[in-house]
Amino acid sequence: MTDNTAQGFTVPIGPQHPALKEPGHFQFTVDGEIVTRAYVRLGYAHRGIEKAAEARSWTQNLYLLERVCGICSHIHALAYSLAVEQLAGVEAPPRAQAIRVLVAELERIHSHFLWMGVSAHEAGFDTLFMYSWRDRETVMDLLEGLTGNRVNYSANLLGGVKFDLQAAQADSIRRGLDFLEQRTRHYLDVVSNDAMFLQRTRGIGVMTRAQAEVMGAVGPTARASNVGRDLRVEAPYAAYRDFPVRMALDERGDLEARFEVRIRELFESFRLIRQILDDLPPGELGVRLPRRIPAGEAVVRLEAPRGEVYYFVKSNGGDRPERLKVRTPTICNLTSVVRLAVGHQLADVPMILAGIDPCFSCNDRLVQLYQEETGEGRSMSWKDLRQYGIDFYARRQA
């Protein structure tokens, strides 16, 4: 048996057990309990949507792209609609833009509640998980009442939105928000005061401002490290110019800060939705697009619940896009946060991963041991493994 102390062991995590979405494979090289190297392999959910978009018409793609993500589906359809409208040289009317923002903010609430549950679950705090998912049903019902769907709301059209907002719907949204706001106040109290929970979040996975900037973190992950990157504020799109948002920032950069920033964003979303319901501009719900989309390139960047979504659409004047590129926030945050895992306890890794909201729950580990240099897999009986552990630490102590 070769001496493995020099290289350490690689612990594979995933891709088989991610509970919610985006299966991914990680390899963490550990020295005892401390992570010394991290590696990511993605692509298990790669469906070739960018290529598929090149073979579909401008209208068909609206439905395809709404299905890029099951959680933030609206923001993808919105980004695509805005890009096509930019290419066509038209702008959706103010009422349509306000309804788009309304749905986007309801989606943010649903996504943040979902994330809160998932990361509480990773921390072993299943009570918070159950409660936040129960409360998430409220916002799901509001979305269903408004759009007819719990997910893939299909609110957008190229040039506008599909439905108007009725007075009765506005009232039920207000009632739902009152309930959610009261619950959110309680959750803010829990995540910032519960001593057991703080042990899993305070000072864990710290990302400094400089690191966040260099590694290109986006969204709440960046804002928790005091990087003022929120496109609703920086580059207001749709109706955010008329309904401005205050950015939630935090200086600490640890998991606790990521929790607090997201929860403070929830309050901001509640306020914004109420304001939109009160001051919804009158007028049309859509404009007609020209029959042909002129040749050109459009870049649209929007603030999804997890951070910046980037769309690039190129038209060559035909009936379908020449090229479409989607960049989601998770890829930016994942690469930065995986680097952060180095130096942490292996047991903190699931929380660090969940802290950026990629919705992972790959807590399974140590199925097979890989020898790092050769890549050879080999199995060890529990007895051998235990003896190896004892020898490992004995050698280190000596």
């Binding site: 260099v214 580059a235 980037y310 930016c332 690469t335 930065s336």
Partner: protein
């Protein structure tokens, strides 16, 4: 800095580092830089980074098709609400690009994507392995190229892809 100041600064940076590249303003809020030679790419990016204009939103590959026989790579830097697009043209055969990883670590995922989707060889990449495509994906087949044949994937599970 407002958008106009950002773009003026970026334009100065580009001219200072590389006076042979062409600079254009296709629409308000956007600056297009046509990089004249590959050797200038990394210095220009360093220049942008030094001036804190180096938030890389994405790297987009474009296949202009067998007729034009060229690939185009767009580096989109997005400080604030401005858009700075560095545009690089490459031949479709033997396309090679220098990696930006040393300057901007987050470029790695985009570059690995370029490599596997467009067949652009990236020099200086720390982990040149595949990022998205499956392990048994055939070598030399680049799905985002215009002449990619999707019929290639019509194999049953367990059968090797030809």
């Amino acid at each position: 800095m407002n958008t106009e100041e950002i773009l003026n600064l970026a334009s100065e940076v580009v001219r200072a580092w590389d006076w042979t590249s062409q600079v254009e303003r296709p629409r308000p809020g956007q600056l297009d830089v046509y990089i004249s030679s590959l050797a200038e790419l990394v210095p220009v990016v360093v220049g942008l980074r030094v001036k804190r204009l180096g938030y890389l939103a994405a790297i987009v590959g474009l296949d202009l098709g067998p007729a034009v026989d060229a690939l185009e790579v767009l580096y989109h830097f997005c400080p604030g609400d401005a858009l700075i697009a560095l545009r690089v043209r490459l031949p479709r055969r033997d396309a090679v690009l220098p990696s930006l990883c040393e300057v901007i670590p987050s470029a790695e995922v985009f570059e690995r994507e370029l490599a596997e989707m467009f067949g652009i060889q990236i020099t200086g990449l720390h982990t040149p392995e595949r990022l998205y495509l499956p392990d048994d994906w055939p070598d030399g087949v680049y799905p985002l190229r215009k002449d990619f044949d999707p019929g290639l994937l019509n194999t049953r599970e367990g059968e090797p892809r030809s």
